[in-house]
């Protein structure tokens, strides 16, 4: 089978994407962890390491462009590279969300704040899990797996709503800490957005496999002709 060069380089880019993905996962977990531990050194580290994620994203983008220019991919190869480009951007954004959460910790410092940590932790775990499986499905180009993942978003939305009302209550109950509690809204928003972006990755997976592009969140199974 010809096209060994293209295959090899494509695999390399996919590996890099997986690495980028795990960097994002790790950053998210660490950032959410610092909310509880208030380990400001750790938070600062997460905040700064986003720079590494950004650089990796540019390196991957560059590699994809070179592949497109030199190998002239067509059809599935072309779709794969276009999807990789998209996923690359999505992951970098997710990195930004993790960075935003770390920033929240830094803002709060050691102040005593009552946060809905149960929901936040659950959201983070769910989002990271979705991302992880979405990336696996993406690399395997497994549309069936990918289609299932965005549906877990409902659970995240539920948690978001619960956390949201808890935060509002806390604001009303303890107006003195409103500044810091307000920052918690930022955290749950970031986590919720992160899950949305996972859906985008799943959309790209279906795109690679079928060539079809459509919006996935809030979609019933019957609509996905996979």
């Amino acid at each position: 089978m010809p096209r060994n060069t293209l295959n090899r380089q494509l695999n390399m880019v996919q590996d890099e994407i997986l690495i980028l993905g795990s960097m994002v996962e790790q950053a998210t977990r660490a950032a959410v962890g610092t909310l509880k531990s208030r380990d400001l050194r750790e938070a600062k580290l997460v905040f700064e390491q986003d720079q590494i994620i950004n650089e990796k994203r540019f390196a991957i983008e560059n590699a994809i462009l070179i592949l497109m220019a030199t190998q002239q991919p067509m059809a599935r190869d072309l779709r794969t590279l276009a999807a990789l480009l998209e996923v690359n951007t999505e992951l970098e954004r997710m990195g930004d969300y993790a960075k935003g959460i770390a920033k929240v910790t830094l803002r709060m410092g050691n102040a005593e704040v009552n946060l809905p940590m149960v929901e936040i932790n659950q959201m983070a775990e769910l989002a990271v899990g979705m991302l992880h499986r979405a990336l696996s499905a993406f690399i395997e180009e497994n549309a069936n797996l990918a289609v299932a993942i965005p549906k877990e978003d409902d659970r995240i939305d539920e948690l978001f709503n619960t956390a949201y009302s808890k935060i509002l209550h806390e604001m009303v109950a303890n107006p003195s800490t409103i500044d810091n509690v307000n920052l918690a809204l930022w955290v749950i928003h970031n986590l919720e957005r992160m899950a949305d972006r996972v859906s985008n990755i799943c959309e790209r997976t279906v795109f690679i496999a079928t060539g079809e592009l459509f919006e996935m969140d809030g979609m019933d199974e019957e609509d996905l002709n996979v």
Partner: protein, 261 residues
């Protein structure tokens, strides 16, 4: 041919076309419709019968003694394989540009004037030469040297001259069999631009090995491949934008992603 002027939806259409070289079936059951004023590319692996099919459209296969065809090639609703069809007139109406530029060993001017004269052209030859050379985007390069031998031109210029020569006999359809395979990339792009320009007035069918070229230059693409018995079949025919981004057939996919064979 009575109904030569009756409009038909397609410029040319084949129905169940089979072409044989002796006992060997070169292509099998080809049914294709070529849209008017569009560029259609035929792609496929070597030996799958692209040129054979193309030559069937202007009966150039007549010169291969062993070749014969069954099925229909409809042009103006007339099956051109019918013995009553005048192949000489047909070849004027369906012009051909070949893989290797093949200008006549005459001057640039005579290259263009000759075909027209043979077909009974009565008008002003100077005007015709200028007009077709302009259409073929060659005029500015040769206007001062019309008496120069066509063989002294570069390959790309020669090929454009061949296109101009084909235009000079006022065809409706232009068949091109790998017209750029002997040309450098710039000359190739020039010809592709030219094809786009010409498609306003002509129907163009191009056979090419260069998938990028088919992708760049054509509106529709037909993918041919070889069946298990080595005869050519048509696998997929669709808009070029679809063939090259999401082909329906796995064989097309394999071929255009370069994973054929």
């Amino acid at each position: 041919m009575e109904d030569m002027n009756q409009p038909s939806k397609y410029a040319i259409e084949t129905r169940g076309l089979n072409i044989f070289y002796g006992d060997f079936q070169a292509v099998k059951d080809i049914s294709l419709q070529f849209e008017r004023n569009r560029i259609t590319a035929i792609i496929g692996p070597s030996g799958c019968g692209k040129s054979t099919v193309l030559r069937a459209f202007n009966r150039m296969n007549d010169f291969v003694p062993s070749a014969h065809a069954t099925g229909e090639v409809l042009y103006h609703d007339q099956n051109i394989n019918h013995p009553s069809v005048d192949a000489v007139q047909l070849r004027r109406l369906i012009g051909m540009v070949f893989q290797k530029p093949n200008p006549f060993p005459k001057s640039i001017y005579d290259n263009i004037a000759w075909g027209a004269k043979m077909n009974g052209f009565r008008g002003n030859t100077d005007d015709l030469v200028e007009e077709t050379l302009r259409q073929a985007a060659l005029w500015d390069e040769v206007k001062d040297n019309l008496k120069k031998s066509a063989l002294a031109l570069s390959g790309g210029q020669q090929q454009r001259l061949c296109i101009a020569r084909a235009l000079a006999v006022r065809p409706e359809i232009i068949l091109m069999d790998e017209p750029c395979s002997a040309l450098d990339p710039i000359a190739t792009l020039k010809i592709e631009d030219l094809m786009r320009e010409l498609s306003q007035n002509y129907t163009i069918i191009i056979v090419t090995h260069n998938m990028q070229q088919a992708a760049r230059a054509s509106d529709y693409t037909a993918f041919f491949t070889m069946d298990t018995d080595r005869s050519g079949i048509m696998v997929e025919y669709n808009e070029t934008s679809l063939i090259f981004t999401k082909p329906k057939d796995q064989r097309t996919e394999d071929y255009i992603t370069g994973r054929f064979g």
